[in-house]
Assembly symmetry: C2
Homo-oligomer: 318 residues x 2
């Protein structure tokens, strides 16, 4: 039997569902559904035990937090406002008591932080693994949602925050290194990502952003989605990638390549977007220029303006 990759499967599905003009469908952070004066946004994310989380790494509360966080981040990636979430959860018998309730507590915690109600879902048993699917409904002013397909040549590429912390945190846990304050900070960034909802709205309201998405698989993979959707190339200046002081310190201590964590690690859930060159001087939130949109379709990495060969790619599920 012939198998295929995740992105190939998505292309297959897209071809079978041509989309009409009222909708923006498969291929962006959210689907957009035009309803009167508002656009509805919808996204959904699947978390499977052993693939997206390990019970040995993340507590039930952490998984509950993250299941909501990754979906809120998809709404942030369009510049939208979340309306409600929907939770589907399949639980093996071993998780049908304490684990499930603690999962809900983590889900409640982040939902209250962003004032988003849980409005429905589905509960079922599973034979072995825990599987969680969260759907999220959001909204934005009609036609204002920021998609991946509008990056323009000459625009600067920005991110809203430090890269690589989440990957560094996961790596710390898997390697079992000593939990210093710095290491705990990285681990927390992995377990409890904070979706950039208000930043996303500020960027949308500015009217200056070309393309935008959230960083879930690492910029090496994520930026290619923007490039492909917009039909452009990109240059990323590796020496401009922003790092936290914690990641710098822990990387130095353990001899990690922090660039590799930043570029290929993913799950930072910062926003990655394009905007005019001096946009960072026009807006009130911290943003970091990391490169340029250029002609062509290549992703070029540079150090001191000289191209370098990077073999880091983002995460693909299959």
């Amino acid at each position: 039997m012939e198998t295929f990759g995740e992105f190939e499967f998505i292309e297959f599905i897209k071809k079978r569902f041509p989309v009409s003009h009222n909708f923006m469908g498969i291929g962006d952070d959210c689907a957009i559904i035009s309803q009167g004066g508002e656009d509805l946004l919808f996204s959904t994310d699947f978390l499977v035990e052993g693939v997206h989380f390990l019970k040995t790494v993340s507590s039930a509360e952490d998984v509950g937090w993250k299941a909501a966080a990754v979906n809120l981040s998809d709404i942030a990636a369009m510049g939208g406002t979340p309306i409600a979430t929907f939770l589907s959860i399949a639980l093996p018998e071993s998780a049908q008591g304490d684990w499930a309730k603690r999962f809900i507590e983590g889900f409640v915690e982040i939902s209250r932080l962003f004032d988003v109600p849980l409005l429905g879902g589905d509960t079922t048993s599973s034979l072995r693994d825990i599987a969680v699917n969260v759907g999220i409904l959001g909204q934005c002013p009609s036609g204002k949602g920021i998609t991946r397909n509008n990056a323009k040549i000459g625009e600067t590429i920005y991110v809203t925050g430090n890269l690589g912390d989440s990957a560094g945190g996961l790596y710390s846990v898997l390697k079992g290194i000593d939990k210093t304050v710095d290491v705990e900070t990285l681990i927390n960034r992995h377990k409890r990502p904070v979706p950039r909802i208000s930043e996303g709205k500020t960027l949308m309201m500015s009217g200056k952003v070309g393309a935008m998405m959230d960083i879930s698989d690492g910029i090496a993979s994520d930026l290619k989605h923007i490039m492909k959707a917009s039909g452009v190339g990109a240059v990323v200046e590796i020496d401009k990638l922003p790092y936290s002081k914690e990641l710098i310190s822990v990387s130095i201590e353990y001899g990690w390549d922090r660039c590799k964590l930043a570029v290929g690690g993913g799950e930072d859930f910062e926003l990655l977007f394009t905007a005019p060159e001096d946009f960072d001087k026009q807006i009130d939130i911290p943003i970091y220029p990391i490169g340029k949109i250029v002609c062509g379709k290549e992703l070029i990495w540079t150090i001191d303006n000289k191209p370098v060969d990077l073999n880091f790619t983002g995460y693909k599920h299959f």
Copy 2:
């Protein structure tokens, strides 16, 4: 570790998410979200291999069909119109080729029948089991969606079609009985349920329906949801339950109790609703009276107007 039942878990979640007046949340077939002049409906259903389907019973196309059908049925249960679906799918390596593509073909088939686009989703790998979550967005005129909590004492209980076919079909496959034309019809009702979208809309538009839901777990279980939500009791006349000629014939041949299949089997995806006594004479679609809404909170089964003891309960996931 203390475990708990599915419905107890849902109650736990409801308490942690008190719902504001703009929303109708957990506990009905769909969530209702008021947006301007229309109400949005949202529902989601999880199908897990080994729990909801067996690869030995259902083809990939059948699973694709059913994954969409059960969600469309939730929209039908409110009297709504489907707008779009969202598909999350977790695939173990063995299903990442042929199975996945055939799944999509079944999903496409029913989506075209009801003219509903697939607008987004999530694809991921899983370690062992296939897991599929479909979300569906629908709409209905503001305030017109039919919920479970409005059954009134004195109303008649109706269903839109024959009961027990799906359970009979599953039973036929599991028992490996000869596939006569009648048996094939039952199996097809199990594998390819047809959601009652147009019937649901007709019932909603009539303005006469009290409470409504779709039959997914069997009327013994499903009717109790309406009773509990509405604070009423019910009497079901077992001798009035409608059966297909195929189920009658196969049941007689193999000595099955068709009443048990009708009451406890589930997955018929007919609509179960309450309306005035002579409503079946006022409406143009076939509907079948099966009982009455009464005072109290008991579900009483009768034959020839005499109470009988039925120990059939519907399906609970854990």
